[in-house]
């Protein structure tokens, strides 16, 4: 979508990278993403491989970050864990993005009674304590990953819909939309060609901030034992395992905690940086 507005995009990238913390965050997240994607090819061990004779060993040249109580290589488990955590984060955000953008655009563009009813539904859904429902879902239908991110994504679209709606309402009164309407462009084309590309700035910002929230939720559920199940790993599971045995084997808590915190920190900084970079009020 950025290709529609190269100048804005290039300007945003320029502004984002001029802030050192944001730049560092972008580099860190890129590394984490690349490593997560190519993990199956570069992982030193198999994520479920147990070396029971070795048991928990501190970092060494064989196992760079040490091994856990079952003799599994921590670095490998962290690499596979970040894959799952990031996948849940990004896929659930995509689900939220698609629903939220569609809902908000239609409500904002059509207006009137449709808008009133659609936003009323959002208001009511806002009142529901979804964390409880997600836990309930995990308990009843088993700890299914696909179900997990569908459920989380289906919850997180509400704020997205509100943001998009207010953007679209402002836009749809502007001349270029009126002109398009006067020229007889079909409504569906107006929505996809003109409204969504122009409303995308704040949506990108909010989406960037949603990813860490969802990863946190996944970690939280896995920590309680209600999310991802062993032998699969995720940051939540690794931190829980680390917390159980931190008294003797500090590395099991420290390394996963550090990478996870840095990831959350970076994503939040990129979100904040993007907000500054894409905010039209700050001027060119």
């Amino acid at each position: 979508m950025e290709s529609n507005q190269p100048s804005l995009f290039r300007e945003a990238v320029g502004r984002l990278t001029s802030n050192r913390l944001s730049l560092f965050s972008c580099i860190y997240i890129s590394i984490i993403l690349v490593v997560a994607i190519i993990t199956p090819f570069i992982a030193p061990y198999d994520y479920a491989f147990q070396d029971l004779d070795l048991g928990p060993a501190p970092p060494s040249s064989e196992h760079l970050l040490g091994t856990d109580t079952l003799g599994r290589d921590l670095l490998t488990r962290m690499m596979y864990g970040s894959r799952i955590s990031l996948m849940v984060g990004f896929l659930a955000t995509t689900v939220a993005l698609v629903i939220g953008v569609m809902w908000g655009t239609i409500a904002g563009f059509v207006g009137g009674k449709t808008d009133a009813i659609m936003m009323r539904i959002v208001d009511v859904l806002y009142g529901i304590p979804f964390i409880i429902l997600i836990i309930l879902l995990m308990v009843i239908f088993g700890r299914n990953l696909i179900l997990l991110f569908m459920a989380i994504g289906a919850v997180e679209w509400l704020t997205m819909a509100r943001i998009v709606r207010s953007q679209v309402m402002g836009l749809s009164k502007q001349e270029f939309i009126l002109a398009a309407e006067a020229m007889g462009v079909r409504k569906i084309n107006i929505i996809f060609r003109h409204l969504i590309p122009n409303a995308i700035g704040p949506v990108i910002v909010y989406a960037t901030l949603t990813v860490p929230q969802i990863m946190l939720l996944e970690a939280f559920l896995s920590f309680l034992g209600l999310g991802v199940q062993a032998p699969l790993s995720s940051w939540g599971i690794l931190i829980r395992d680390g917390a159980v045995s931190m008294e003797e084997y500090w590395w099991l808590l420290v390394f996963p905690s550090l990478t996870f915190s840095l990831t959350l920190f970076s994503l939040n900084f990129i979100g904040d940086g993007l907000r500054d970079a894409l905010d039209p009020r700050s001027g060119p």
Binding site: D123, V124, G127, I128, P129, I131, I132, L133, I135, L136, L137, M138, V139, I140, F141, P212, L216, A219, F220, F223, L224, G225, L226, G236, I239, R240, G242, A243, M246, E247, W250, L253, S257, F260, S261, L264, F265, N268, F269
Partner: protein, 304 residues
């Protein structure tokens, strides 16, 4: 004011009903019968069990009976501990969770509001950057990391504070309170700073200063009233987050509160307990949202 309360109640009640219905249907559509795990029970025993939990009635009858019970505060007997009712279990855990949440919110308010005021009074100086960067850290470090790290540092390495329990040893309430409250202290700091910055630029503050009021009076009496509105509006959602956070904190520190009961019930597949406490939690969260809306509106007339 009354109109506002009634209007919000008008939204809260359908939401609550929807939550009860949804959770009820979810629990009842769970695959497998609740007694599948028991060793082979004779048909007579099974019939008795079903009768005790009202499972032999048609679904709509079970639902209406359950709803009637809930309205009278009766969530039925627990599957796991048949001699105890769900209401009884909730009431054992609630005071502890409530105490923990209150300590955490007090900690968050005291720390967050003072840091926020400091930042707003001296914006873009070290007094502003230092607390705000710390706040960013506080938001990003989740309780599942903060709790174990605090235990490791203060409990195991320094041996200053107990590593778990609630009210058994002096000082064992400190670490759970910090673990649960830190993220909210950080949010409070950011919200207070934003709110105060906005208010401090307004005319009535200039007037108050021109009248020669002391800086303390200007800030605490005049500015804080408006500057705290975002914080108060945040308290409702914060309370919901605190209750959810108590699941983790109570598990980490071994605190016998409602959150741990909930997680245990989830593991034991104690369906009546899950159903009852889900509904109870939802009621609490919805009431806190209602309360914070009303308080925010009574402080700031523009919101009415």
């Amino acid at each position: 004011m009354l109109e506002l309360i009634l209007k919000r109640l008008g939204t809260a009640i359908p939401v609550l009903l929807a939550v009860i219905t949804l959770t009820f249907l979810m629990v009842h559509s769970a695959p497998g019968g609740p007694f599948d795990a028991e060793k082979a029970v004779t048909p007579e025993v099974l019939a008795k069990l079903n009768a005790k939990y009202n499972l032999d009635a048609p679904l709509w009858k079970q639902y209406s009976d359950y709803l009637l019970g809930v309205m009278q505060g009766d969530f039925g007997p627990s599957f796991r501990y048949p001699s105890r009712s769900v209401t009884e279990l909730i009431m054992t855990g609630l005071p502890i969770t409530f105490e923990l949440a209150v300590y955490a919110i007090l900690f968050a308010l005291m720390l967050g509001v003072s840091a926020g005021i400091l930042g707003a009074l001296k914006p873009n100086t070290a007094y502003d950057y230092l607390p705000m960067t710390t706040a960013m850290l506080g938001i990003c470090i989740p309780s599942i990391i903060l709790g174990p790290s605090l235990i490791l540092t203060f409990g195991i390495w320094l041996e200053l504070l107990p590593v778990g329990g609630w009210g058994d040893m002096p000082g064992d309430k400190i670490l759970p309170t910090i673990t649960l409250g830190t993220a909210y202290a950080a949010y409070c700091a950011r919200l207070t700073r934003g709110g105060m910055l906005e208010v401090l630029n307004q005319d009535f503050i200039r007037t108050a200063r021109a009248k020669g009021l002391s800086e303390f009076r200007v800030v605490i009496v005049h500015a804080l009233r408006g500057g705290l509105t975002p914080v108060i509006a945040f308290l409702g959602p914060a309370m919901a987050g605190l209750l959810a956070g108590s699941f983790v904190v109570e598990t980490i520190f071994g605190i016998p509160g409602l959150g741990r009961f909930y997680v245990e019930a989830a593991f034991n597949r104690d369906y009546t307990m899950i159903l009852g406490s889900s509904i109870f939690f939802s009621c609490l969260i919805i009431s806190f949202n209602l309360l914070s809306d009303v308080i925010a509106a009574s402080i700031n007339p523009k919101l009415r």
